[in-house]
Every structure is written in C-alpha cells, then in structure tokens.
C-alpha cells in the first residue's frame, strides 16, 4: 500500500476457476497511471473474467489485486467511486433518454456531473433527448462510455466497447477513447480487434486460454515476434504471380487479384518489382507494411484472432 502512486493496477498471480476450467490462469501484470492498456484476445480467452474481477464485479479464486493502492477484494467501497465501468454487452433502460440515463447514473454516485460536458465528450449532443431504445449500436456504446465517466473516475474499464459495430461507428468510438487518453485517464480496454489495440493502446497484453502470452507496446510486440515485411500487389495478373513464385517466394493469391508476399529483407521488394516490370507483367498498386498484431497473435498461438468479417484481413 506504500506504492500508492506507482501503478494504477497491479495484478499478481490472478486465477479464476469455474469448476475444472481455469478461465484466468495465474496471470500477472501492471498498468501504469495514465496509460491505455489493452487486453487483446479471441472469444473465451478470459478477457471479461479478468476485467470484471479487477473492477469488483466478480471475485477471484486466488491472486493479489491492487487498484490505486487499494486491495480490490477487501476495499470495494473505496474503489467504486474511483473507477468507471462499461461492462461487455451493456445496455440501459429502453425508455430513458440519453440525458436522463446519464443523470440517473450520476445521481447514484451523488456527484456533480457536468452532464452537458459528457454529452459533448462522447459526441451525442443531437441525440440527447432520444430514448435509449431508438439509439444505434454505436450511439449506445458512446452513451455507455459517458455513463462510465459520470463519477470522473481515475481508471476506466471498457470491455469490448466496439464489438459488433460497423467500421464507421467503431471509428467514432475510437475518437472518444482517444479523447479519454488525452485527458490522462487510465484506460483498461479489452478487445479482439488488433487494429483497436494497435491504434489506442500504450501497452497490449495478448491473452489466450486464460494465459497472457505476450506483453508490450504494439511496436515492441511486432518487433520482437516477427522479422518480415508484407508486400501486397493489387490488380496483379497471373503472370506476376508466376514470376514471384519462380523467384522462390511464397505468394498468396487473395480474392480480388491481390497477391501477398512475405519477405525478410527490404531489398527484396525492389527485386520483385523489377522482375515483374522486366517481364512485362501488370499490377496497378502496391503497399509494403510491417506485420500487424493479428499476425503476431497467429504466430504465437497458431490461431486466428477473430472471425469477424468486417475487420478480417487475410493473413499472409
């Protein structure tokens, strides 16, 4: 308890069992104050279990949990006013308007919430008088975030805030989250979208089957776990594909005449492009990128991170 200022969250050897299943299996990590921490993992990995234990909704089987210097299992009443939570799949009272909903939760905390400020922050001003029932998924999640902020918490827990949203709604939520980050809140985020983790998180912990299998900044994770580049050629013809294959690479044909090629050295890009041009083969566009967290996850676990068609990207 002397380390009050050091970490926002400290988890040591946390385990949660449901019968024979260890939903969370002996995990340890720390979250610094003011950082955005993302727990990234596929369905059933143990994200919700972890976040709900830390945010006092569930109780752990074993392990030590400190939040803002307080023991999570023993000091719930001290912790509750200082955290804000958006549970997974949260919804609210159908017949209350946006404004009434925020007002209700702020009354529960008895805080002097700047309701208009919150409405502004999550960008739902024009829907303030609309009933919850009539809000789209993205607006509902933004309202959920606003509710999580009514007590001006130091640590905010958001369990899959963008799951099930279309890409545009997702981006709008990201903007709101970026705003939180700029306000210096500590944000604990769970997601199975690697883009989300990559874009928002300072630290990403990859969780699979109840275990944390890698942790670090998105850059570090990619750097430490991969050693290749990905070249994508768009609108390429078969001839180009053949040439690349003959050069000894393993091109993958991907839907719309897209060819993906993995390589270890930057110089290979130039070599491939020259060979294609020399042979008179065609392609209309190209892009070179580093591997993403999706690929890191695949490499670490041998499994794809998610099966959501909206964000799914073919993996090389």
């Amino acid at each position: 308890m002397t380390k009050d200022a050091e970490y926002a969250i400290e988890v040591v050897k946390l385990t949660k069992r449901y019968g024979d299943l260890a939903a969370v299996n002996d995990i340890s990590f720390t979250v610094s104050k003011g950082e955005v921490f993302a727990l990234l993992g596929p369905n059933g990995a143990g994200k919700t279990t972890t976040v709900e234990i830390i945010s006092t909704i569930r109780t752990p089987t074993s392990g030590k949990l400190m939040l803002l210097g307080m023991d999570v299992t023993r000091q719930k009443s001290g912790i509750v006013p200082r955290i804000g939570v958006l549970p997974q799949g949260f919804s609210s009272f159908d017949r209350l308007t946006v404004r009434e909903t925020i007002q209700y939760y702020s009354r529960l905390f008895g805080t002097n919430t700047d309701i208009d400020g919150l409405i502004e922050l999550v960008n739902i001003k024009d829907k303030a008088k609309v009933q919850y029932k009539k809000l789209s998924g993205g607006l509902r999640q933004r309202l959920g975030i606003a509710i999580a902020l009514v007590n001006d918490p130091e640590v905010v827990f958001l369990d899959e805030p963008t799951t099930g949203l279309d890409p545009r709604a997702r981006r709008e939520v990201w903007e709101v989250l970026q705003g939180l980050k700029n306000r210096g809140k500590t944000v604990f985020l769970t997601t199975h979208y690697m883009e989300e983790a990559e874009l928002l998180a300072d630290t990403v912990a990859i969780i699979s089957k109840g275990k944390i299998i890698a942790k670090g900044s998105p850059g570090e994770l990619i750097e430490n776990n991969t050693n290749y580049l990905v070249l994508t050629l768009r609108c390429a013809d078969n001839k180009a594909f053949e040439i690349v294959r003959k050069m000894g690479f393993e091109p993958v044909l991907n839907g719309n005449k897209e060819i993906r090629i993995r390589m270890e050295h930057k110089d290979d890009v130039q070599k491939i492009l020259n060979a294609i041009t020399d042979a008179g083969a065609l392609y209309l566009g190209l892009d070179v990128r580093k591997p993403n967290l999706e690929e890191v996850f695949l490499k670490l676990t041998g499994e794809a991170l998610l099966s959501d068609p909206v964000v799914e990207r073919g993996v090389v």
Binding site: I57, R58, F90, Y104, F109
Partner: protein, 371 residues
C-alpha cells in the same frame, strides 16, 4: 439507506413504466376486468328471486291476492300452472322442483273461519316437490314464513314473539363488496411479484445489474426503491379498482388507514418473494414460471375470489399458511366488517411474514454475476 439513490431509482422506474403505455394499461385493466365480470355475475344473482310454480284451483280474488303476496313478500318469481293440469306430470315434464297447490275452497274457508269465527274451517296448501333439489327446502321455509304471516294477520292477534334481525355486518353487504377487497389483495400481489421478477430479470439480462454493482448503490436501496415503486403502482391500481366498483356497482367500502397499510404489507411481502425468486431462477422464463407457481395457488386458495369458509377443511388449513390469506382477511376486516382488532391480528401476521421475506430478499439479491 440513501434517499437520493432510492429517489433516483424510483423516478427512473416510474418514468419507464409511464412511457410503456400498453404494459401500464394491462396492469391496471386486468383487475378491473375481473371486478366487472364477477360483479356482473354477482349482481344478477343478488337480484334474481326464487322461482315458484303455483296451481290455483280456487280461482278467486282472495287466492289471486295470496299469490300476489307471495310475489311481493317472498320475492318469488311466479309461474301459474293451468288448474286443469296434472301436477305430477307437470313437474316431470317441465323439470321444476316445486309446485304449490292452492286448493279449491280457499276463499270460502277463510271467509267462514274469519267472519263466522268457525275454527273448524281450514284449508290445506300442498307442496309437490323434488327433494333432490338443493333450493327447494329454502323455498318451502320462505313459503311457510309467508303463510304464517298471513295466518296471523287473519287471526287479528298481535304476535307475542317478534324477531329482530341483526346481521354480523354493521349493514347489509352484497357479495361484490366482499369480493372487491379480495381482488385488491390479489392485484397488488400480482403487481409486486411479477413486477419485481420481470424487472429484475430484465435488468440482469441487460447487464444493468452488473453495471449497478460498480456504483455505490446498496442492495437495501435497490429493494426499497422497488418497494416504493410497486407501492405507487399498487395505490394507483387500487384507486382505479375502487372507482370502477363505486361507479358501476355502487360499492361503498370503509376506507381508512388500514387500506394503505395492508397494500404496503402486501407489496413488502411479494417484492421480497420476487427478489428471492429472481435470485434462484437463472433464466427469465423460469423466474416467471416460479412466480406463477407461487401466485396461482395463492389466488385460489387464500380466499380472494370466494370465502375460505366455503372450502373443505384441509384446504382451509392450507389457506391459513398462505400470506395472501391474511391480506384478504385484513382488508375485509377493515373495509367490510370494520373490525379493527381483526385487522390488527391479520396485520401482525402479514407484517411478520413481510419482514422475514424482505430480509431474505436483501440477502438473496446479488449484484455479482457468475461468481
């Protein structure tokens, strides 16, 4: 307890139900429909007199007068049987249970008896009846009473023994007046029980309960706000029921502080039971089924629709362990019999029950899901 939190919850729940117009309508309408349907049945029963067949063999002014008296004083609905008919055959063919035969010579015998003071002149009225009918003895009793009255008047002596009727009720109540308090008790029970179960399972499914566990609200605040909310609805519904039964059936019941007191106890008891059911039924459907299993026997066995005294002995014993029985008893003691002591006894029983269930309800309420 935190009044601000309780108030915030109460406002939210009232707003939500107010905006859910169809739910509102059916909650209020259901007990009123019961009152209208049963009220109509009881009222027509109250007004129908007994049916009586009379064969007048005398066919004189006096015999006609006697029949008119039966119609008026005995409240009989008279069917006149043709003097030429064979009564035994008539009874069988028309499936009537009683025919009264006024013999020839009624007028002449009476005239002889009264004006000539001849005590040997008399006349015999015959009843042809079906002993298997349940109402026939009552009819004969009433007929005998009316005939005794006529005899007495004719004899000109004033009666030595008179009777005075004092009902155990301070004034005469109709069955509908007995019925309305039972329906109030039942309606409040259903409102509280199903309201609590439905609301809480819905909120649990929506994740609102999980969210609430990360706010400072306590279980006591939560249940108290539910009780206040259900009480508000119950009072509204009771007012509607009383108004309808007053306007349609002219039902006037004694209204005093006992009424809100019993409504509150009713609410406390069944919100508590609702909380316990919500806790132990995982799915919304099984919670609703459990609520049905609790309320159904309660409705029929605790004397909401008809007096418990009409039921066989062992069912009466069962009735007396049902909490709703004491709400029924209490409300009737207060609203119909105006018996404060009886109301107090019922209040003590239901009050103790409500306190226990309320505490169990608080203990059963869990914010945390899937421990």
């Amino acid at each position: 307890m935190n009044l601000r939190v309780v108030g915030a919850n109460l406002i939210v729940k009232l707003k939500c139900v107010w905006r859910e117009k169809t739910t509102m309508f059916f909650t209020i309408a259901f007990p009123i429909i019961l009152i209208l349907v049963f009220g109509t049945i009881f009222m027509s029963q109250d007004n129908v007199g007994f049916h009586l067949c009379v064969q007048d063999l005398d066919q004189t002014t006096l015999s006609a007068k006697a029949i008119a008296t039966l119609e008026r004083d005995g409240k009989f609905k008279i069917t006149r049987v043709d003097p030429a008919a064979n009564v035994n055959q008539y009874v069988r063919e028309n499936k009537v249970d009683l025919v009264m035969i006024i013999p020839r010579g009624l007028e002449s015998s009476i005239v002889q008896n009264v004006t000539r003071k001849d005590p040997k002149a008399f006349v015999t009225i015959t009843y042809i009846y079906d002993p298997s009918s349940s109402s026939v003895l009552t009819k004969i009793q009433i007929l005998n009473a009316v005939l005794a009255g006529i005899n007495q008047k004719l004899s000109g002596k004033s009666p030595v023994i008179r009777s005075a009727e004092t009902s155990i009720l301070t004034r005469k109540y109709r069955f509908i007046e007995f019925f309305v308090p039972g329906i109030i008790a039942m309606a409040v029970m259903s409102l509280s029980l199903f309201g609590t179960v439905n609301l809480n399972t819905e909120l649990r499914q929506k994740g609102i309960i999980r969210k609430l566990s990360t706010t400072p609200i306590t279980r006591t605040d939560w249940i108290l706000s539910d009780i206040l909310y259900q009480f508000t609805l119950a009072v509204g519904s009771t007012i509607a029921m009383l108004l309808v039964s007053y306007i349609v059936f002219d039902v006037r019941l004694n209204l005093d502080a006992w009424l809100p007191a019993f409504i509150l106890l009713d609410v406390f008891a069944f919100v508590g039971i609702g909380m316990i059911l919500t806790r132990f039924a995982r799915e919304a459907q099984s919670a609703a089924a459990a609520a049905n299993a609790v309320s159904f026997p309660m409705m029929f066995l605790s004397g909401s629709f008809f007096p418990v005294e009409l039921m066989p002995g062992f069912l009466q014993t069962i009735a007396k362990i049902l909490p709703l029985y004491y709400v029924n008893e209490g409300l009737r003691s207060a609203m119909v019999f105006e018996d404060d002591m009886a109301a107090l006894r019922a209040a003590a029983v239901i009050g103790a029950f409500a306190a226990v269930v309320f505490i169990l309800g608080i203990m059963a309420t869990k914010w945390e899901e899937g421990q």
